[in-house]
Symmetry: C2
Subunit: 218 residues, 2 copies
DNA sequence: TTATCCCAAAATGTCGACAAACGACCATGG
DNA sequence: CCATGGTCGTTTGTCGACATTTTGGGATAA
């Protein structure tokens, strides 16, 4: 019984590499060499390969035949697209919530998350994670597997860019209040209002992102 | 120089399996056993594994650790979601076309496609492919990689269900006229009108699909 | 100096074999 | 009769080795 339960070996390796990407330990465009990781983890190349495939399905790396696999990078316009589509998915989810029924448990979870967020206003990274979880809960309320998976994939890609936490960070206080408002609107079943608030928020992020790109504060 | 140029071996195998899925040779839920395909193609299991991963990336199969890989199936509501999201992407693409510039070449291609469609009204399968290509051209006009890739993935999944060609088939004549109208609207830069026509068309497909499910004409 | 060719090192692709896990069947016991 | 447990064939997971391809550098010639 040498093996672990929760995840298969390739999944574990994929998780670790994911973390490396998220923390900036691996930068976009960087090459991931199988044999390096193989010797690092004391395995053969097969599980590493498998892990890289997993990351490719999540869109975090790109596998180019006979060239290798590199950490995926995104252009400015691609990031815009990712944010835009993700927002659209969230609005779709919002529409479907109106017909679903078990909002209660999700709302409770969201209130809990916002409470945690209130206690984490100082820690941008942590706040970003809670924020992510908050929105994921909205998505789950729609009870749509397809939307959920797509949203998760897009979020993971965006998270890998380490841009969001920074962008949100400048306006944490405002964001925090917005989330409280969203819960309030959902409780009162004012779905359209909640939807447009989400849209405004996302648009603001996109706008800030574009400004960010135009003035490289470096 | 024994190898082929255009595609790597795993890609070729993936293409063949894709065809098997699209033609119904492999049914949803069916298990794909690596060693079978290995001996069939005269290779070892490694390239097969790679091919299966490619298919997983495209969402055509599902890999379950230590269980194997099965052809992915979709519930009715999941199919609805796929159609809905795909339509949303198409509307997003439409919005962006307004700011792009090189519409001309795409419009020409679309006119060519519609012409071919006119000559293929009798062949549902072929018509569905041309139809698919038509919409893909609209997507390309948006010049967004992200939208393009997502749209392609969703379309491939829907295509694998062999439902669309059947659904469209009943209304080919109407569909044909609609496509002509779309080109006309795009030429006159009436993007909003084109967008809502697309929405109507897609909604009609979804509605028909749901009726289809409620009355199993079998 | 620069361009080109060639070669060696490194990295990915493929292979066959073995290990571990899963699933089905059968036997056994209640 | 049903539930339990073991056994065995099948299938996936992992390994190490070899083949093929790419890459980078250095020698040579213009």
């Amino acid at each position: 019984m040498t093996n672990v339960f929760h995840h298969s070996l390739p999944q574990q390796i994929a998780d670790k590499i994911t973390k490396q990407i998220m923390t900036g330990d691996l930068m976009p465009g960087e090459k991931i060499i199988e044999s390096n990781y193989a010797s690092e983890y004391g395995t053969s190349r097969a599980p590493i390969r498998e892990a890289l495939y997993l990351l490719a399905t999540e869109g975090l790396v790109e596998r180019i035949p006979r060239k290798g696999t590199i950490v995926k990078g995104f252009s400015q316009s691609e990031i815009n697209d990712l944010l835009d589509i993700r927002m659209t998915l969230e609005k779709m989810a919002m529409k479907r919530i109106q017909s679903a029924s078990d909002h209660q448990s999700c709302l409770i979870k969201m209130e809990d998350l916002v409470e945690q967020m209130g206690a984490t206003l100082h820690d941008e990274k942590q706040y970003a994670l809670l924020n992510q979880e908050f929105h994921m809960t909205i998505i789950r309320m729609s009870q749509s597997n397809v939307i959920h998976e797509l949203y998760q994939k897009l979020s993971k890609q965006l998270l890998s860019l380490q841009l969001l936490s920074f962008l949100e960070g400048e306006h944490i206080q405002k964001s925090y209040e917005e989330h409280q408002t969203i819960i309030h609107l959902l409780k009162n079943k004012q779905f359209d209002e909640a939807s447009s608030l989400l849209e405004d928020h996302n648009q603001a992020v996109i706008t800030r992102l574009n400004l960010q790109f135009k003035s490289p504060t470096k």
